[in-house]
Amino acid sequence: MLGTNLDHIELASALEKAISENENVMVCCGRMGPMCLPVYDIMENLEDKYENVKFFDMEFDIPDAGVIRNLPECSNFYGLPFTVYYKNGKVVKATSSIQNKQEVTAILNSEFGKPE
């Protein structure tokens, strides 16, 4: 389990449940490394602001993370973390490697709507 303050997903079935029960979901799949930590920090900072989005992390090296690693949207990814955005159970956006707050909020706003 990753040592972040985010909700963790540890099983593929838990991810299935999360994206079926929530309209908007952001999952950051990575390690406790320098490219991943800033993205977790951004997500922790945005959790209160984006009440319409559920934020999760997932450890990249657990077997069930194949549900993220093997997504067609991540087939050309060569940098951690793999960050995936789901709307109504479908992948609407995926990014590879470190992202800054502006990049993350731009995606959240365009895919899930800007908070009031």
């Binding site: 390690r31 490394g33 320098p34 800033p38 920090d41 050309n76 060569y78 940098g79 707050k101 502006q102």
Partner: protein, 306 residues
């Protein structure tokens, strides 16, 4: 608008240390950082030369400092961009993320440094799709592949050697005719059978479609170009002080570092600077912590006498 005694810009070891000292002295402190708290310290896998701590990960040490600063009452805004700032007057002012506004009687600038990028459009295009800045994070994606490392300092040389665990070949591309790293690091890279070295060349463009497939490099001697097959490129070309916000406002030298006196005062009353952003020779976690202490004590003296 909420007012603090001190606003600290930067939450690396210098900024967090200054926050700990000031908050413990009952000063109200706001710490703002555009990235995660901890600064470049979180990029360090293991720290074994921090006195009193046998060995600790950079993330853990950063997290401890952050918790300590919060426990004394520091308010920390991480991943937050400063969108407006006026630190020249008696009352200092900042706006964060275009929304929250704060003022203070004093400011400590501890913005640290950031990895230097090549500045090519194609570098942005292939970030995470072949281009990486962290061998530990992404090395294992390049099992049995041909990759390049750009740079010629200790980081480039050491990471090139570490990448040989995964890659079929590692080509180091460096702009000068010699490396800047330590002798032992140069020797290890030179002697490694999987490492090729191309000196006096710079990256001209990263090439590929969905992901990186090759890199065009240009000779600094005669301008000729050649294309290297490479599905990965790791860039380690040093750090630059993060002083963009302060150019034209503060005294900054030609290396982009803020000029300070022995008490870390700068050319603006009530503003101090600490850590990797100031002009100095050695940059370590311990020197940043030292700077944070000095800056905090100088701020206390300033606040008590102003």
């Amino acid at each position: 608008m909420k007012k603090f005694d001190t606003i600290i810009i930067g939450a690396g070891p210098a900024g967090l240390t200054a926050g700990i000292y000031l908050a413990r002295a009952k000063k109200s402190v706001l710490i703002v950082d555009q990235g995660a708290a901890g600064g470049q310290m979180v990029l360090t896998h293991k720290i074994a030369n921090y006195p009193g701590v046998l060995e600790i990960s950079g993330y853990e040490l950063a997290n401890n400092m952050k918790k300590q600063a919060k426990s004394f009452g520091c308010k920390i805004y991480s991943s937050s961009k400063i969108t407006k700032m006026d630190i020249l007057g008696k009352e200092k002012f900042i706006q964060i993320d275009g929304e929250d506004e704060f003022s203070a009687d004093s400011v400590i600038i501890a913005t640290g440094g950031e990895p230097r990028s090549l500045g090519l459009d194609s570098e942005k295009k292939f970030k995470g799709k072949g281009i990486s800045y962290c061998a530990t994070c992404d090395g294992d994606f390049f099992q049995d592949q041909d990759i390049i490392v750009v740079g010629g300092g200790n980081s480039a040389l050491e990471e090139a050697v570490s990448l040989t665990k995964y890659a079929k070949s590692v080509t180091i591309v460096h702009q000068f005719d010699h490396f800047q790293g330590y002798e032992h690091a140069i020797r290890e890279a030179n002697d490694h059978p999987k490492i090729n070295i191309i000196l006096e060349h710079e990256v001209d463009e990263f090439l590929g479609d969905e992901s990186l497939t090759s890199v065009r490099i240009r000779s600094n001697k005669n301008g000729s170009t050649q294309v290297l097959n490479a599905t990965g490129a790791f860039i380690f070309i040093g750090y630059i002080p993060r002083t963009d916000h302060f150019k034209g406002i503060l005294d900054i030298n030609d290396r982009g570092e803020i000029i300070v006196d022995a008490d870390l005062r700068i050319n603006v009353i009530g503003v101090f600077a600490a850590g990797d952003v100031v002009t100095k020779k050695y940059r370590q976690v311990t020197t940043a912590v030292s700077d944070g202490t000095v800056a905090a004590l100088s701020v206390m003296e300033y606040l008590n006498t102003k």
